[in-house]
């Protein structure tokens, strides 16, 4: 196996005295799509936020492109190509769509306009409305904007936190189609999802989290095929994105 582009060893995250993540390890190969699945409160978002530098880990080690980034703040990681699409989209509603994309290109000043144009080609809906405040977009369009905004930063790895949350099934299909396109274009994707079956179908490799620990891991197809895992952790297929 080649060296993973991103690896997490024995990661611990605490909120005060509460340990949300208790020794999680996983590795992400260059160009692959890895998913972390599990119920609400399993610690998935804490893992993602620690990896992207928004949270300070209480312990463990995070390596990105061969460098220790355990204590590197978010604003430096974005510049190095580790970019997050945050939970709840976090678009800047009072800024225009174009300005949101320009914010995505915060660290790529020289090539910003070219990558923004490329993103417009891919998401024509955004191009048509570039001068409107982003708050005017529908939920699904806002999710597309959040993804587009991350792509503008020319990421090596995209971390996606619950991209299908709160979206209608048809839009969820579209979001997953975009995720697979991103992966097909060679960008590594780490996907955190409550919609576990859907995520595992798209992924190469999966990790099942429960109470802040990895309880199962392996090739995604294998996890999906294992009745016991499906029964115990993934539940019955419900409507996506319910909360």
């Amino acid at each position: 196996m080649s060296t993973p582009i991103l690896s997490v060893e024995d990661l611990r995250v605490s909120y005060g005295r509460v340990e949300a993540v208790r020794g999680v390890s996983f590795a992400v190969e260059q160009g692959s799509l890895v998913t972390l699945v599990g119920a609400n409160g399993a610690g998935k978002s804490s893992v993602i936020n620690a990896v992207s530098g928004l949270l300070r880990p209480a312990g463990g080690r995070i390596t990105f492109q061969g460098r220790d980034v355990t204590r590197t703040p978010a604003h430096k990681l974005v510049g190095r190509g580790l970019v997050q699409v945050p939970e709840g989209r976090q678009i800047l509603a009072t800024l225009t769509i174009e300005e949101n994309l320009q914010m995505g290109a915060w660290h790529t000043r020289g090539t910003a306009q070219r990558s923004i144009d490329a993103v417009y080609d891919r998401f024509p809906v955004l191009a048509e409305r570039r001068a409107l405040p982003a708050g005017a977009l529908s939920g699904g369009e806002q999710q597309m904007l959040a993804i587009a905004r991350a792509l503008v930063a020319a990421p090596a790895v995209v971390l996606m936190d619950e991209p299908s949350m709160g979206l209608a099934p048809k839009i969820v299909d579209e979001v997953f189609r975009v995720i697979e396109e991103i992966r097909a274009s060679g960008t590594t994707v780490v996907l955190v999802e409550q919609n576990a079956r859907r995520a595992l179908r798209a992924a190469d490799h999966g990790y099942v989290l429960q109470s802040g620990e990895v309880v199962h891991s392996g090739p995604a197809a294998g996890l999906l095929a294992d009745e016991r895992i499906v029964q115990a952790y993934l539940g019955i297929e419900g409507p996506p994105g319910q909360r």
Binding site: S52, L54, P73, A74, H75, L77, V78, G79, V83, Q84, P86, Q90, I91, L92, A93, T94, L95, E99, Q102, M103, G104, W106, H107, R109, R149, A153
Partner: protein, 291 residues
């Protein structure tokens, strides 16, 4: 006409002071109560630059701008950054900035003594203009031009530049800004620097306008500045501009037609009336802050 012009000159200084004040509030949701002390300190420093440094009035302005910016960085570092993680950071920042303001004023008193200071004789150019029958000095024209230029420049910076975009992103959602790779601490520091630089220039312009600097000038403008940014709509830059001009004009006309002891009654009474009619302020958009 003379009063109208006088009102605009003093109003433009209020506006410049208030815009710096409201910038920090609008972007960072913090009230920096050391802002009036920056205003006062810069007036004294401006006079000293002219008196001892031998600079002309106009050459002193950019120096004071830089002085204010540095002071802003110090205020952010000492009075705000150490408290930023606290649940009561808002209130704690108020108190710590008041404390810093007190220290700054004490330093001024130590350095310059308690007396009123003036620019050395001959610092003011004699040029005068006549505008529609009213007398205007060159100094007044420069005051207006400098305040307007700085306010226009600030507005351009906030609405059109990368830095301004970063500021607005931080204002709306600091977490989202961090996710996008913005160094929020740095934007915070820069915002304080710009805000204080504007407050500093306002201080010197004020000293030029009345040819005095006093230790109490900061507290005199503090309440006016607060009133102006509330009336203009908290965090609104154009609101602070309009509010400043309204206050300046109201003061001057109150003195002219009613009597100088009624100045504050009339001026603040008018601001109060505006708030009764528009509680969110003239250009306030409270919704923006409540996302």
């Amino acid at each position: 006409m003379q009063q109208l012009l006088n009102g605009i000159f003093i109003g433009s200084i209020y506006a410049l002071f208030a815009i710096g004040f409201t910038l920090v509030f609008g972007i960072l949701d913090r009230l920096n109560l050391a802002h009036p002390a920056v205003f006062a300190a810069s007036a004294f420093v401006g006079i000293e630059l002219v008196e001892r440094g031998g600079l002309s009035l106009w050459a002193a302005l950019p120096v004071v701008f830089v002085f204010g910016a540095v002071l802003g960085l110090v205020i952010e570092r000492l009075a705000f950054r150490p408290l930023k993680g606290r649940a009561d950071a808002h209130f704690a920042g108020l108190i710590s900035s008041i404390a810093l303001a007190g220290m700054l004023i004490a330093l001024l008193q130590w350095r310059y003594g308690p007396d009123t200071r003036r620019f050395p004789p001959g610092s003011f150019p004699d040029t005068r203009f006549e505008v529609a029958g009213a007398q205007v000095t060159l100094a007044q024209v420069v005051i207006l031009a400098v305040s307007l230029a700085l306010m226009v420049g600030l507005t351009y910076m906030v609405t059109r530049t990368r830095l301004g975009r970063g500021m607005r992103a931080v204002a709306e959602n600091p977490t989202a800004a961090r996710v996008l790779g913005v160094d929020v601490d740095r934007i915070t520091a820069v915002t304080f620097a710009i805000s204080s630089a504007l407050g500093a220039v306002a201080g010197v312009l004020f000293a030029i306008n009345v040819n005095t600097a006093q230790l109490g000038m900061g507290s005199a403008i503090e309440l006016k500045g607060l009133a102006v940014i509330i009336v203009g709509g908290m965090g609104s830059l154009p609101g602070a501009l309009i509010g400043g001009l309204v206050l300046g004009l109201a003061e001057v006309f109150a003195v002219q037609y009613i009597g100088s002891s009624w100045r504050d009654v009339i001026a603040f009474g008018l601001l109060f009336l505006i708030l009764l009619v528009r509680p969110q302020g003239l250009l306030g958009a409270r919704k923006v802050r409540e996302v």
